[in-house]
Amino acid sequence: MTELPLLDASGIAKSFGAVRALTDARLTVDRGEIVALMGANGAGKSTFVKILTGALKPDAGQVRIRGAEARVGSPAQARRSGLVPVYQEPSLIPDLDVADNLRLADTPVDPFRAWVSELGIAGLSLSDMIGDLPLATLRILDLARALAAEPDVLLLDEMTAALPTDLVEHVLKVVRAKANDGLGVIYVSHRFTEISELCDRATVLRDGRSVGDLKIEPGVEERAVELMLGQKLALGLRDTAGGAAHRTGTPRLRVRALAAAPKLTDVSFDLYPGEVLGVVALEGQGQDELFEALSGFEPPSDGTIEVDGTPMTFAHPADAIAAGLTFVPGNRAEALLSQRSVRENIALPFSARIASWGPLKLRHERERVGYAIDKLQIDTRAQGEVQRLSGGNQQKVTIGRWIAKGVETLLLFDPTRGIDVRTKRQIYPLVRELAENGAAVLFYTSELEEVPLACDRAVVIFNGRIVDIIDAAAADEATLMRAAHGLTGEDSAA
């Protein structure tokens, strides 16, 4: 007899008011199989994952576990049926410590510990408060907790989007190993490299409907994108960043010996108008502190910041913005007014200063917001509340705000987190275009392959200081990776 699939979902439909997130989603997973769930931003992947794991109730459809119809009413029930998810947002309780979080979900401690170290996190104490831990660690803890629950099917929703490259490696390794032991995995990601490395099969969602199953084999990207977008999109042409920018005259931003507790110790660099300067760093090397200091969020403990030759101190982001420095945080929850409309979110900086507390300039606002929405192709069907947008579209809104406002110096912290391939392809040229029009851009990304696509140069930060400056257009992933690990070799471009 043929073995029944571990999980078999069909005909799943779900509407949020007027928005049909899913109309007919289907998917099967067998033992030991890793199935990629692919789709553009807003295709319904997360909604599907939430329905399969009881976080949302479907309007219609069927879920079978080993052939038996299952009613997954809540995440707890899903866990009991062997379906364990890692959602896009951390699902750990910020005000409890790690141990209590485990107890809450009845997770055995020892396997959890084992998984945490297996996944590359060292020095975690069970009495650490979740709220004090960095996002990347939380993602890993979420995964370790899921693994320790010994699931039959593991559902990973953009698990790696917020992870630095080294941790991604660990995750892929562990998932592969578990699949070899017979675990079924549903893997949501926008990263083709990961999918082709890891997955056996892909199910593509488009507009809430399953539009095809693909076997992962060389050249499948082309086909997947076609299915995802319903159209052909030239992929693979790695149109790398433009040539050397004109690094002459006064730098837009001159940073000297900048230090900020706890991680950043000594960083100096110049950023010129018209330049995109990449920042390459593994998790927690001080890049968070660097961006917080430059954006006026936390004052640095030492060092100087000059803007157009004038020394500056920023006591508040408003100071930085007044000096032309605008910051897009990596964590979109920090940047979005989740209950407000797309328009209000994008127009927010227009009203920030006291001088602009008066009547709104509605026409101007409409124009600028429209411009940003077009530029970023934001899906505005659920625009009444930003929280109803899909994750990727939310991410676009955070950038769109500054596109609308117009920028001199843009501090982008991992802007392509969770963005689909088409949009990414729109964002790189956009960043380049901004630079060509005279903006200076500081660009941190956790995906090293993006560096040559968007940047002119890249500074590599390791252990709180700059260890290398690389001409990005020529740098391949291996070079960057070595540098990021603090292994500065002769082969790195001068």
Partner: protein, 335 residues
């Protein structure tokens, strides 16, 4: 991934109501008034001959009249709740303003008295704004504390003016008890006021910032908003509104008292939340709060006119408020 056009009618109705939350509230209001009319036939009829053939007791006029100060105080709650705050000092501020105005106008005349009364609102607002915006004390505690302090100050002040006599400025009396075509003159103050608040919330940068702060303060400050500026301005505005409401109330009740407007505090919060304002910030509607105030007033009348033990009356009041909000939430799908 498609549009509403194919949705069944009941879904479309739900969506319509969700986008126009005012409609179910208005329906509740009219249902309540209809129930009242059934209970006491004739009460809603606008014109009835009284002594000397004058327009007599016009209940709708009274309803509106007493809803106005409540709706003004509810504005304080709506505005502060937008930023996830609350202003529990409004009742006291209104009382202080009324008391100060009545006692000072017999000494210094009406205009200085009114100005000083309004400035008490500014002072309390400044202190609230300082605590909430700069020291970052939770607004509930901050405004509770300033309310207590203001009560104490009022009592100390009261000692000094026991024998000063009181006088209610003519303008306030005209606003408070005068009528035009059967409707209270208070509307001459309130309609511009309400338009101002609605405009402030929807069409000004300040309004936008209030919503933004309540939704996500970190996001707002990342966009360059200095939160303490906003809180300071907001709580001063709230204080001034409360003082203004107190002055109007003085004209209506024509009696000073050390607790004149204090009983309006809880209803002002209730009016705001019935009207669909979220105490968690980021969502609120002043039009809703105005209807909320009217609903509360109609309920007051209904219960006053019902013959039943006081306990049952009080309990019924609570149950109806709960039923109205629960139905509202069910219909609009918001919370």
């Amino acid at each position: 991934m498609s549009t509403q056009s194919t949705d069944p009618p009941h879904v479309r109705l739900g969506l319509f109501l969700r986008d126009n939350p005012m409609i179910p509230l208005l329906i509740f209001l009219f249902l309540l008034i209809a129930a009242l009319e059934v209970m006491r036939p004739g009460i809603v009829i606008p014109i009835r001959a009284g002594r000397d053939g004058l327009i007599s007791t016009f209940w709708v006029g009274n309803l509106v009249k007493f809803a106005i100060p409540l709706a003004m105080l509810a504005a304080c709650q709506v505005l502060t709740m937008l930023t996830a705050g609350i202003d529990l000092s409004v009742g006291v501020v209104a009382t202080v303003a009324a008391f100060v105005c009545a006692t000072l106008s017999s000494i210094w005349g009406a205009t200085p008295a009114v100005l000083i009364a309004l400035s008490t609102g500014v002072v309390v607002g400044l202190v609230n704004g300082f605590g909430v915006g700069i020291v970052r004390v939770h607004p509930l505690i901050m405004t509770l504390g300033t309310g207590l302090v203001a009560t104490g100050c009022l009592q100390v002040y009261q000692r000094m003016v026991i024998n000063a006599g009181t006088e209610i400025p003519g303008g306030l009396e005209w606003l408070g008890i005068g009528r035009t075509f059967g409707m209270p003159n208070g509307l001459f103050l309130f309609i511009p006021f309400a338009i101002f608040i609605l405009w402030l919330m929807r069409y000004t940068g300040f309004g936008r910032i209030l919503f933004a702060l309540g939704s996500n303060e970190r996001a707002a400050s990342l966009s360059g908003v200095r939160a303490w500026h906003v809180y300071l301005a907001l709580y001063v505005l709230s204080g001034v509104i409360a003082a203004l409401a107190g002055l109007l109330y003085l004209g209506m009740i024509r009696q000073t008292s050390l607790s004149l407007a204090n009983p309006l505090l809880l209803p002002s919060v209730a009016a705001a939340v019935i009207g669909g304002t979220s105490i968690f910030g980021g969502r609120g509607s002043y039009a809703g709060a105005i209807i909320g105030a009217l609903i509360l007033r109609v309920l007051d009348t209904m219960l006053t006119l019902m013959q039943m033990p006081e306990g049952a009356r009080t309990a019924l009041f609570g149950l109806i408020i709960l039923a109205v909000t629960a139905l509202y939430v069910r219909i609009t799908g918001t919370r």
